[in-house]
């Protein structure tokens, strides 16, 4: 208690320092006067009297100082002192401060932006009550070649029923890009079809109206209802509360809006935000997905579970293992080798793939961020070391005047810390700005959300980064400067940092480290860029240029099959007549987009053995001009013709891989297979088309076949138009033609094939990776160049005298240039060696992220190393050239 009171007094003393100080000064003054008077009486002269009195008192300032040490809080006081002094120093050296702050802002900005991303994607739990109970259930079954990454609906129901005692299983299946019409205006929405217990298990609340209720919408044919996401509600309806009860059309079918989701909940996937939620029966009604409810082969449900309190992941896992084994035995054909992994929901992001490369991806970019930060640190360290040697005199004098070493170090560290904090604030602002930019930009064809996750973790991370920087970059110069011996320094005749051989070595090491770090960044960037180029130049089997895709669903108008056919026929005729149109065709699927058809096939004469599954192959229903419009070459046989009609014999065209896979010996032409069963009916292979890309760009060649639309009816089709004009300029005209034919506007989407390929399944992820890595690489290069330039020019200035002597002794400017260059080149070479080794190690994790280029791609390594060495040598050459022009006389007088 007494201690506390004393402490409070001290604090008060701190605040009332002015008044107390004045009182003490007055008291000491009067003491002195009294003493002087006594001394005068004792017979001293005035000067002696004063001198003796002062000696006795021990100096007013010292007395005051020792009094003050007791009075205030010395820690706080010296801190304030240091801070005031530091602020003064920073203001005085505005240039240096600005460089350090900007350098650090770049480093911290890049880091916080990336960490913000990772934080949002991997570290933050879902914004729901008791989020730690939520586990992701990741399914893995025998046949995952086609990317089966979810549960089939029957599997989902079985797991939900059989694990009920320990866990509430709920899930959703995404209906990509459904047509949505309200107030006479259409949009394309991505809708999360949710199990009826989805919201109750998550524990989320509606912002308005109600959510999907338990028991609702798990049977096809129930009335269609829709819950809007908060952001879609704001975007599309301006936050109008009257949307509740509004009649709209979803995928052409009438539906009622019943609620709006709370703002905080932005979907289970962190990356994708659904525009709206609907019960499964609305999202997957009979006309769109008749097999969804019964087939064990349609794996669309992404499933989560809320574990009952006290149930661990391991306990849940063993329960799921038991059920998986039971199902695998019960359904040997479809559920062969079925297993379910119960894992922390955060580890399953963004999509619960069985092998998730996302964590590795995040880790890689965090490492790149750390490298950028290290480069920034190195630069700052360089600057601070230069400044520290300039201030060595100051430090030596301070030490001579009785400054304790720890106080000097603290002073220097306070300065660094203050600068680092400024840089950190600028960096976090920059990072938040980048993050905001990423979140407000509509990047993609699906609602991807990258900006999020700026919470305390990000700030803690940024603060850790700042403190690390300040200590890493500030401690060593501070230690050095404070170690300065006053005699040496003052006798150096004003030349700071003489004989700092060790220091030159440290600078050289730093320069090498910078070259190494920047090389690693650039190699990673180079690999990503080359991978992107490889993807963009990849043979995708068709010509995506000058193509416009118009996805249509005339079922909105309740057309009969005949009417639909008639609609498409007249549409094709009309569009073909438009100016600039070269070729028009229809298809049920677009390659590398979200619509996929998959079929079990039965080869004639090769019945499927009992207990085995017929092979499944992707396919497309197309009309006769399709191959011409997409420029897919027919290698063997013929394309479809108008003669392939409903009544003519069934025909099919297979791709090269399918031909090789099913008919390895001899031509497939004339061979037959069935889509229904071993008994037929059979379609005859009439042609072989070139291989292409069908699901994603990075896939291996896979079997694929085409059937005529006349023989495989599909209401939803995509009109593909090849034109001589820019394809998007055609869009309004085509839209007009369609509306003339069908006032209900059956257009679901219009986009060019190039845009379609830029989507998530296409180039997007490669472009994102390449641009992120390239930005980091360029940042690293910039920092390294500035660093190398700084080190060499500083070294040249430091050696002015030596160079002057060399020149006076007859060294030619050329020799001076080479002397400086050789040292620079040695350091760069050493840096390159370390950098190459580091890059080789770092890129081992990248093998799954690259397409068409190996992680040890020699072209990238050699060209990046060459580029970096020439740029850094240039950065050496400029200051070296300047040094060679030194006038020996001036240089010698420089002392």
């Amino acid at each position: 208690m007494r201690r506390l009171r004393a402490w409070l007094f001290r604090l008060a003393g701190q605040l009332h320092k002015g008044a107390a100080d004045r009182e003490l000064t007055a008291e000491l003054e009067s003491h002195l006067k009294l003493h002087i008077e006594d001394n005068l009486r004792a017979g001293m002269n005035a000067e002696q009297a004063r001198r003796q009195a002062l000696i006795k008192l021990g100096g007013i300032e010292q007395t005051k100082e020792s009094y003050r040490d007791r009075k205030g809080l010395p820690m706080l006081e010296t801190l304030l002192q240091d801070l005031r002094f530091a602020a003064r120093m920073l203001r005085k050296n505005l240039g240096v401060t600005a460089i350090v702050v900007v350098t650090l802002a770049l480093g911290v900005g890049a880091n916080t932006a990336i960490f913000g991303l990772v934080n949002g994607l991997l570290l933050q739990r879902l914004p729901v009550p008791a989020a730690e109970e939520i586990a992701a259930l990741v399914i893995k079954s025998g046949d995952s070649s086609l990317g089966a990454l979810g549960f089939s609906y029957p599997q989902f129901v079985e797991f939900r029923e059989q694990t009920a005692p320990i866990c509430e299983v709920f899930g959703s299946a995404t209906a990509w890009r459904l047509n949505f019409t309200a107030e006479r205006h259409s949009d394309t929405l991505t809708i999360g079809g949710v199990s009826s217990n989805y919201f109750s298990a998550l524990g989320v609340k509606p912002a308005l109206g109600r959510l999907v209720l338990p028991g609702e919408g798990e049977h096809p044919g129930e009335p269609a209802i829709l819950v809007l996401s908060y952001s879609f509600w704001q975007r599309r309806f301006g936050g109008d509360p009257r949307v509740i009860g509004k009649q709209v059309r979803v995928g052409g079918k009438p539906a009622t809006i019943v609620g709006v989701m709370e703002k905080e909940f932005r979907g289970q996937f962190t990356v994708f935000e659904m525009d709206a939620y609907a019960p499964l029966s609305t999202a997957f009604d009979d006309s769109r997905a008749s097999n969804f409810w019964n087939s064990r082969d349609i794996h669309m449900m992404l499933v989560l579970g809320r574990l009952k309190p006290g149930v661990t992941l391991a306990q849940a896992q063993s329960r799921f293992d038991v059920i998986s084994r039971r199902l695998a035995a019960q359904y040997p054909v479809t559920d062969k080798d079925l297993s379910v992994r119960v894992m922390d929901e955060r580890l399953s992001r963004p999509i619960p793939y069985a092998n998730n490369a996302f964590i590795v991806f995040s880790g890689l970019f965090l490492i790149l961020g750390a490298l950028v930060l290290l480069l920034a640190c190195t630069n700052i360290l360089n600057i601070l070391m230069a400044r520290a040697s300039v201030r060595q005199r100051e430090m030596a004098i301070r030490a001579a005047l009785g400054g304790a070493r720890y106080r000097l170090i603290r002073q220097m560290l306070t300065e660094t810390m203050l600068t680092a904090l400024l840089g950190g604030i600028a960096g976090v602002t920059l990072g938040a700005g980048l993050n905001h930019l990423a979140s407000s930009t509509h990047l993609l064809d699906i609602p991807v959300r990258l900006g999020f996750g700026f919470d305390w973790r990000v700030f803690a991370y940024a603060l850790a980064v700042v403190v690390f920087t300040a200590i890493a970059a500030g401690l060593s110069p501070a230690l050095r400067a404070s170690r300065a011996d006053v005699n040496t320094v003052l006798h150096q005749g004003g030349r700071p940092d003489a004989g700092g051989k060790a220091r030159h070595k440290v600078r050289g090491d730093l320069m090498g480290a910078q070259v190494a770090g920047s090389l690693m960044l650039l190699i990673v960037a180079g690999l990503f860029v080359r991978s992107l180029r490889a993807v963009e130049h990849m043979d995708i089997g068709f010509d995506p240029n000058q193509l416009l895709n118009v996805r249509l669903d005339p079922s909105v108008s309740n057309f009969s099959e005949t009417q639909t056919k008639e609609f498409y026929r007249s549409l094709e005729t009309r569009v073909r007549a438009l100016p600039g149109v070269e070729s028009v065709s229809l298809a049920s699927a677009v390659p590398v987009a979200y619509m996929l058809g998959k079929q079990s096939i039965y080869i004639e004469g090769r019945p499927v053995p009992p207990g085995q599954k017929a092979p499944e192959v992707l396919f497309n229903s197309v009309d006769a001009p399709y191959f011409e419009t997409l420029r897919i070459r027919i290698l063997l046989g013929r394309a479809f013709t108008d003669a392939d009609s409903e009544s003519s014999p069934r025909v099919a065209i297979v791709n090269e891989t399918m031909a090789k896979h099913f008919w390895p010996n001899g031509s497939p032409i004339g061979k037959r297979f069935s889509l229904t069963g071993d008994a037929g009916p059979f379609a005859e292979v009439v042609g072989v088309a070139r291989d292409g890309k069908y699901r994603v760009l990075a896939e291996d060649p896979q079997p694929y076949f085409y059937v005529p639309l006349t023989q495989d009816f599909a209401a939803q089709r995509t009109l593909q138009i090849r034109s001589a004009m820019p394809p998007d300029s055609l869009a309004p005209v085509v839209q007009h033609e369609i509306q003339a034919l069908d006032a209900n506007d059956p257009i679901e989407e219009i986009q060019t094939m190039k845009e379609s390929l830029g989507g998530t399944l296409g180039y997007f992820i490669y472009r994102l990776g390449a641009s992120l890595a390239a930005a980091m690489g360029l940042l690293g290069l910039l920092l390294a160049v500035v660093g190398v330039y700084g080190v060499v020019s500083y070294a040249a200035t430091q050696r002015t005298q030596e160079l002057g002597i060399r020149m006076a002794l007859g060294a030619s400017p050329r020799q001076i240039l080479f002397l400086l260059l050789r040292q620079g080149a040695q350091l760069v070479a050493a840096g390159l060696l370390f950098g190459l080794a580091g890059a080789w190690l770092l890129t081992r994790v990248m093998s799954h992220m690259l397409v068409g280029v190996s992680p040890s791609d020699p072209v990238t390594y050699v060209s990046v190393a060459a580029l970096l060495s020439s740029i850094t040598l240039l950065a050496c050459w400029i200051p070296a050239r300047r040094a060679r022009r030194v006038d020996p006389m001036v240089a010698l007088r420089y002392e």
Binding site: A6, F9, E23, L24, A26, E27, L28, S30, H31, K33, L34, H35, E37, D38, K56, L57, G58, G59, Q62, T63, S66, Y67, R70, K71
Partner: protein, 113 residues
């Protein structure tokens, strides 16, 4: 800047002497120094620089109190007075000091024989 006198005094000695002196009469700082010097026959040299910090300590612990007054030579001085708490504190200090002194004396006497 520690001088030998202060180093030789045990901790608390200066405070004890200040309190003892003030018990006789209230004094200002300079007079305190002079008094201690005189009464110890110049054996004890008070470092004047350490006097004021010591006085501040005592003030803070409310063992003395101070007010501004006028000296005999007509100067504005701060006069220190012993408080009741100060008197009690002094008593305790002195008795414990005497005990210690006795102990030391005994040890020293034993060492001689």
């Amino acid at each position: 800047m520690k001088n030998s006198a202060q180093r030789d005094l045990f901790p608390g000695a200066l405070e004890m002497m200040i309190l003892r002196t003030l018990k006789r009469q209230p004094l200002h700082g300079y007079a305190l120094v002079q008094h201690i010097k005189r009464t110890s026959d110049d054996l004890l040299q008070i470092e004047e620089g350490s006097l004021y910090p010591a006085l501040q300590r005592l003030l803070k612990e409310e063992l003395v109190k101070a007010e501004w007054g006028i000296s005999s030579t007509n100067r504005r001085v701060r006069i220190y007075k012993l408080t009741a708490a100060g008197a009690k504190h002094l008593e305790r200090q002195v008795s414990s000091f005497e005990k210690m002194l006795e102990g030391i004396t005994r040890v020293l006497a034993r060492g001689e024989s």
